[in-house]
Structure formats: C-alpha cells, structure tokens
Amino acid sequence: MKTFLSTHHLSLGYGNNPPVLIDVNIKINKGDFVCIVGANGSGKSTLIKGILGLIRPKSGQISFENGLKPTNIGYLPQNTKTDPDFPALVKEIVLSGTLGQMKSRPFYSKKEQKIVENNLKRLQINHLSSHSFAELSGGQKQKVLLARALSATTELLILDEPSNNLDHQSKKDFYQTLKQLNREGLTIIMITHDLDTEDLIGNKIIALDNSSASTYTTKEYLKRYQK
C-alpha cells in the first residue's frame, strides 16, 4: 500500500503554550478513509492544521510521499468558520478552490471552469451554480464547500467536523457522498465526534487522547471502546 503522508515525532501547539499534541506518529495510505476522534480540546483541529501547513510544527516532521504536494490537499474547514451570509455565487466559491494550481496566473482559464463544472456535477449541485451562497440550505452550503475542496485536489480531502449543524437527513446524504468519493479513489481524513457509531464511516480511526495519537482499524476501535 502506498503511503501518502506520515508524521514523525510530531509535536504541535500554539505560541509559547505547552504543545497540544506530543510525539505523534501516524501514517495515511492512499485510498484510506480516516476518522480522527477525541474529546473537545484533544487536538483534532490542531493535527489537521499542522498537516495543512496552517501552523508550524514545534518539533518533528510531516512527510508527503508518492507525489502528494502539501498545497494539493482539499480542505473543508469547520462550517462555523464561513460567514453564512457571505455575498458570493456558488461558482465564484467553487472556482476559488482551483487557485492553488494556477501558480501566479491571475485569471481563470477554461481548464479551471471545467474542473468546477465536473465537481458540481459529481456532487449533483450543478443546478445551483449561479445561486447565491447565502440563500442555500445548510446541507447545500456544505456541498458547495466540499466542491471547492474537490477543486483543489485529486488526491486527498481533509474535513473538519463536516456534519456539524446538519440535520439528520443532510448528514446521511453527505456521508453517502463522502463514501462514494472514497470509492472513486480519493483519500479522506475527517474529524468527527465518536459519540455516534454512525459517524465512524471510514476504515481507520486515529484517536487523540492525552496529547498523543493511536491508530486503529474501525472494527478494532468499536470492539475496544463501544462493545
């Protein structure tokens, strides 16, 4: 199995505060669907911020292998972070996902338009392309931001609690979409609550506790903690 990214004795934290995570050694393989679980404050968001390069490691390192580039990751931030009233059209938002591949080119070309068109179709939201983001439902908004993340990558998606604030049906629908994307070959890392077993939809679990990380298969994890 090809490894996409791995961390070696990685410690992460903010400013001069003590590190949130210490000596983390994890490995993500191509095709994995990994759920990151842990209590509030256990460092779930910190871990993915480290992987995304949003914060610098205090020590240790993160290596990207087999052609994965750090700026070639599709990121879906916690949905509380995006202003729900932001004045923008769906296509404006999804197009912005392609900026990472444009180097210093200032304007979008046909290629970027095509990527966006494909991803909107893939998530079955192409009819929303010219709609205003502010007027969409919570589930639709989340799909638009997923389409933006997909436009940034063909390899790896990272999602931070994507089912927060979604009603039950939208959440089920969203998870179905993620499973489908994973079957199509996309590697996925998703932060989730582990309160509900139906959120543990991946094949692997990274559990954060006491500043350290342990990796399980989903089966192992369920046996161990939830009987």
Binding site: K49, L52, G53, L54, P70, T71, I73, Y75, P77, K81, T82, D83, F86, P87, A88, L89, E92, I93, L95, S96, G97, L99, G100, P106, F107, Y108, S132, A134, E135, R148, A149, A152
Partner: protein, 266 residues
C-alpha cells in the same frame, strides 16, 4: 446647477473632489475585504492613531502626511497581530482612546501653535493640498491594479483565509498589503473627512452594496460606484447647505445604506 459649476471653479473644491473621489474608490475596494472579514474596527483604530500622529507632526513643524504614514502603517501591523488574539478588540479600543488623548493633549499644551482641532477630528476641505491629490491618485491606482490582478486570490482570502492558506495563497503577504493600503487611505482621507468620520468611507459602501448584490464581483463594483456617488452628493450638499463636509458625506452614505436596506426587505 450653475451653483454646482461655480463650486468646482474653486481650486480647493476641485482638490477636495479629486482626493475624495480617489479615496472613495480605494476605500470601497479595501473595505469589501475588511468588512466581510469582520475587521471593520481596524479602520476606526487607525484613524485615531492618525489623529495623534497629525497632532504631533503639526506641533513639531513637520509635514503631517509624511510623519503620519509610517506611524499609521506600523500601528496597522500591530493591530493586524491583535486581531488574531482573543482580547484584541479591547486592546484596540485602548489604542484608539490613547491616541486620541495624546493628540488632544499635545495640541492643548502647545497653545502657541495654530491648530484646527475641529478640522482634524471632523475634516476640513480647505486643508487638502496638491500633494494630497497626487498621493491619493497614486494609492488609488495601486489599489485598483491590486484588485484587478489579485482579484480571485483576494476573494479566496476574504471568504476563508484558512482554506486560502491551505492551497498555498500567501495570506500573510496580502494581509500586510491591505494593512498598508488601509493606513494610506486613512492618512490621506483624514484631513478631508476627519479622524472620527474617515472609517465610514471604508465600511459603508460594502454594507450598502451587500443590500443589493448577490455575487462578490457585483459587491466590489457596486461598492466603488456607491462610494463615489455618496461622496460627491455629500460634497455638493455640504457646499449648498453650508454644512461640514465630513458629516454630510457620512449622512449621505447612511441614507444610501438605509434606502438600499429597505429595498432589500421589500
């Protein structure tokens, strides 16, 4: 009409109109990003710092614009750092009040120096110089070029700085450029509209445009147009009614905001 034509035959009016229009465009453009990122207080904080710097420069006999520019730019970087911290808004409020206090004190101690305190706080079109005209045209040209060539990246950062950074956009660089442009707009526009009113030039156009537009592109374009219109209407009204320019411009912006808000609710 003839009254309006006579108005622009005065040199000082012409200078005020050019500086005002140029700064209106630049402020509206930068404002879109600043307001949508919920950083509106930055403009307010910087204008207070600018007031303090202007007062000190005048007392020392220096050219206020040259003296205030580096100080306000430094303050903008400081405020940028604050905005990422938890209690940033409280420290910003302290910075604003202290700058205002320093400025007022410096002016009152030096009674021998003839300073128009009222003009600094609320604006005075008489004080706009040809240097201000040249500088404001330059800064507006720079802002417009930035918006044309970095438009999509500015959009991405405004919507979601974390996502933008994750795909490799240099968000820190853009934050720095915006802080500098904001500072220059405030220093140049301050004498026209006054320290207490200049930040409205950054904030109002975006809020008004948001009432009318659904796309980001239309917000950017509409904000610039509305900003120019409300400025020129305010300037003309202040001339005809003999009212203070800064206050009249702000109230004409408020009227535009309220009218578009009502329209959006219909």
């Amino acid at each position: 009409m003839s009254q309006i034509l006579t108005m622009f035959s005065y040199d000082f009016m012409l200078r005020a109109a050019i500086v005002g229009l140029a700064i209106s465009i630049a402020a509206a453009l930068v404002g879109v990003s600043v307001v949508l990122r919920k950083n509106s207080m930055i403009g307010d904080g910087l204008s207070h710092v600018a007031f303090g710097a202007f007062a000190i420069a005048t007392v020392l006999g220096l050219t206020p614009v040259w003296f205030a520019m580096p100080i306000v730019i430094l303050a903008s970087f400081f405020i940028l750092r604050l905005s990422r911290k938890q209690s940033g808004d409280a420290i910003l409020a302290i910075l604003s009040a202290s700058s205002l206090a320093i400025g007022t004190l410096v002016i009152s101690i030096n009674k021998g120096v003839n300073i128009d305190l009222n003009g600094y706080l609320f604006g005075s079109i008489l004080s706009v110089s040809w240097l201000d005209v040249v500088l404001s045209l330059i800064i507006t040209a720079i802002t417009i070029s930035l918006y044309v060539f970095a438009y999509h990246r500015i959009f991405a950062i405004t919507l979601d700085p974390d996502f933008a950074k994750s795909i490799g956009i240099k968000t820190g660089l853009y934050d720095g450029i915006f802080a500098i442009i904001c500072s220059l707009i405030i220093v140049l526009g301050m004498r026209l509209l006054g320290a207490l009113l200049i930040s409205s030039l950054i904030i109002f156009p975006t809020l008004t445009a948001k009432n009318l537009c659904k796309s980001f592109k239309s917000v950017v374009i509409t904000a610039s147009i509305i900003s120019c219109l409300t400025f020129i209407i305010g300037l003309i009204l202040s001339y005809l009614l003999n009212t203070p320019t800064g206050a009249t411009v702000v109230l004409s912006s408020l009227a535009a905001y309220l009218l578009t808000k009502i329209y959006s609710l219909l």
